[in-house]
């Protein structure tokens, strides 16, 4: 039987505020344990929450970016459960009146084309602390630095039909939160965490199958692997006449498998109720309009503009807009050098290779946009060849010298003087008499070899087009 996989994702995005959701404690990453856990975060009696306005604005920003309804009034609720890293005994979250309502995200499909994925809602909530079970043998250690960090939980509709689509959705989400500057989206640091609801059904069926939830998948690659494993497990189980149990499972990346979470004998019953310590949060039209005007250009719009305005191929436009810093960098180079296609090439090929090799982010690029623009101009005005430009590029990366300085100091200027090139050609013809004769006898393809020899003799500095022309003139005369 042919099966169809149905996936919905719940993605937790850590909002990049300076302070926590309900207290003025720092959220900086990597601090010593419990140095960023204060009386409110520790649930000391008598402390009260005050909502971080910036976290609320970030949630609205996200909502507007995905075309979602923004609740004019959102309500916080208590989600009650007991665990040592949750000092209050409840997580403050939103149940019936989340800040962000229904919206959608467009993802690219593998074989071309696009698909619109529904977003059911996005609600604001606080993170829990961290339990360290391995720190000691006689107990568990609790670090509450993360307790109270603002999260936006983004819940998708069950619209995704393959692990690849799930990854595309997650990547698009990542790109959007980075463009909006509301999260660093770093999955390895837990700034973006993903739970996947997975079920399968016979192809063409309209009812959903029983689903399982895979918790806390922490990389794009693992999302794909975990979903593929889980869909295969469900298919084998059903084909063997078994039944799917609705349960929560964990993905184990070292064994590449999912398995049921232990110790969940009491079914979750969170006994939600409205948080009495927080009043309804009112968002008025004025605030929404103000946030709307502050929205940056988003990845989809920018990709379309790059294709239209700069004539980039769909592939180049995609690569160059995947992250905002890359897109900004490209635009600065393209504007300064006046040749978008060359700029796109240099940024997406040479610069990308350099950054990968040095394991750097584009923000830390060793080559400034001004230097790269000058380099491209020197190719355009014929000062250097494209090949020599790569040498200059490497030297820009490793030193402080500017483009013109490197060209002058190392004598890399392209030779365009016809007299000088003719001298080179005479020497090549003299040294390669048999090949020259072959060309004269009609073997056209030998010309490439002779041009190569002349270029080599000039150490790559002769203008290749001129060499070609002059060589041909000489041999045919």
């Amino acid at each position: 039987m042919e099966w169809e996989t149905v996936i919905g994702l719940e993605v937790h995005v850590q909002l990049s505020t300076r302070s926590k959701l309900f207290s003025g404690t720092s959220t900086a990453f990597g601090a010593e344990p419990n140095t960023q856990a204060n009386i409110y975060d520790l649930a000391m009696p008598g402390t009260l929450p005050v909502l971080n306005g910036e976290a609320l604005r970030m949630a609205v920003r996200f909502g507007l970016a995905i075309g979602a309804e923004i609740s004019r009034q959102s309500i916080f609720d208590r989600k009650n459960y007991f665990y040592p890293d949750l000092p209050k005994g409840y997580q403050t979250s939103q149940l019936d009146y989340p800040t962000v309502g229904r919206g959608s995200i467009v993802i690219p499909l593998d074989g071309g084309g696009e698909k619109r994925i529904g977003v059911t809602r996005a609600h604001m909530e606080e993170d829990a602390g961290k339990s360290l079970h391995e720190a000691f043998t006689d107990g568990s250690g609790i670090d509450l630095n993360r307790a109270g960090t603002p999260l936006l939980e983004i819940v998708s509709e069950p619209d995704l039909r393959s692990a690849k689509e799930a990854v595309a959705y997650l990547k698009k989400l990542h790109s959007i939160v980075r463009y909006l500057d509301i999260s660093d989206g770093d999955m390895s640091q837990g700034s973006m965490r993903c739970d996947a609801n997975v079920s399968i059904r016979p192809m063409g069926a309209s009812e959903f199958g029983t689903r399982t939830e895979i918790k806390n998948i922490n990389s794009f690659r693992f999302v794909e692997k975990a979903i593929n494993f889980e869909a295969r497990r469900q298919r084998e189980l059903l084909e063997d006449g078994g039944e799917i149990t609705q349960e929560t499972r964990l993905y184990d990346s070292t064994r590449d498998e999912t398995r049921p979470m232990r110790g969940k004998e009491v079914a979750n019953d969170y006994r939600y109720f409205p948080e009495p310590d927080l009043l309804p949060v009112v968002i008025d039209d004025k605030l929404i309009e103000q946030i709307r005007t502050e929205l940056p250009e988003l990845p989809d719009a920018r990709r379309q503009r790059f294709a239209a305005e700069y004539g980039l191929s769909p592939y180049d436009a995609d690569v160059l807009t995947a992250n905002r810093e890359m897109a900004d960098y490209f635009e600065r180079v393209a504007t300064a050098c006046g040749d978008a296609k060359l700029a796109a090439n240099w940024v997406s090929v040479e610069l990308q290779a350099l950054l990968n090799r040095e394991n750097l982010e584009i923000a830390d690029s060793p080559i400034s946009t001004a230097n790269l623009a000058t380099l491209i101009q020197r190719i355009k005005d014929g000062t250097i060849s494209g090949k020599i430009a790569k040498t200059v590029f490497e030297q820009l990366a490793s030193g402080d010298a500017g483009v013109d300085e490197i060209i002058e100091q190392q004598g890399l200027r392209q030779v365009t003087d016809a007299g000088e090139i003719e001298k080179l050609i005479d020497q090549v013809i003299a040294e390669n008499a048999p090949q020259a004769q072959q060309f004269r006898n009609g073997k056209q393809q030998v010309l490439g070899y002779l041009v190569g020899q002349a270029m080599k003799l000039s150490k790559g500095k002769a203008n290749p087009a001129q060499v070609n022309q002059l060589l041909r003139d000489k041999l045919e005369s």
Binding site: T17, R18, S19, S23, G24, T25, S26, E32, P33, N34, T35, Q36, A37, N38, I39, L42, V50, L51, N52, G53, E54, A55, L56, I75, N80, F82, Y83, P84, D96, Y97, S131, L132, H133, A135, F136, D138, G139, S140, G141, I142, D143, L144, R262, G263, V266, D269, R271, P274, P276, L278, L279, P280, V281, V282
Partner: protein
């Protein structure tokens, strides 16, 4: 409200309800539920949901760090701590 339901709620709320108390607790919670049933019967069509009895809206805080590190002081309040961590009984086997 029977005894098994009381047991379940007590477990979720981490409350100890002795078998001797269970009957009385069941009666009292039963009374509250009857009151709620009575309120449920009121026709609320066209009434805005009310999340909070106060007619006021939430004030917002500027995103500023106002708290300082008071770890030593706060850890000292806990029954047990070690290496800057709160120490609790092992929560997983």
């Amino acid at each position: 409200m029977d005894k098994s339901e009381i047991d379940k709620i007590a477990t979720l709320a981490r409350l100890r309800v002795s078998p001797a108390e269970a009957d009385e607790v069941a009666t009292r919670i039963g009374g509250i539920l009857t009151l709620i049933d009575q309120m449920q019967s009121v026709d609320t069509a066209g009434v805005e949901p009310l999340a909070h009895p106060l007619d006021a809206v939430q004030r917002l805080r500027a995103d500023e760090v106002t708290e300082t590190d008071r770890r030593d002081e706060l850890l000292a309040l806990a029954p047990s701590s070690r290496d800057g961590l709160f120490l609790v009984p092992k929560v997983i086997e």
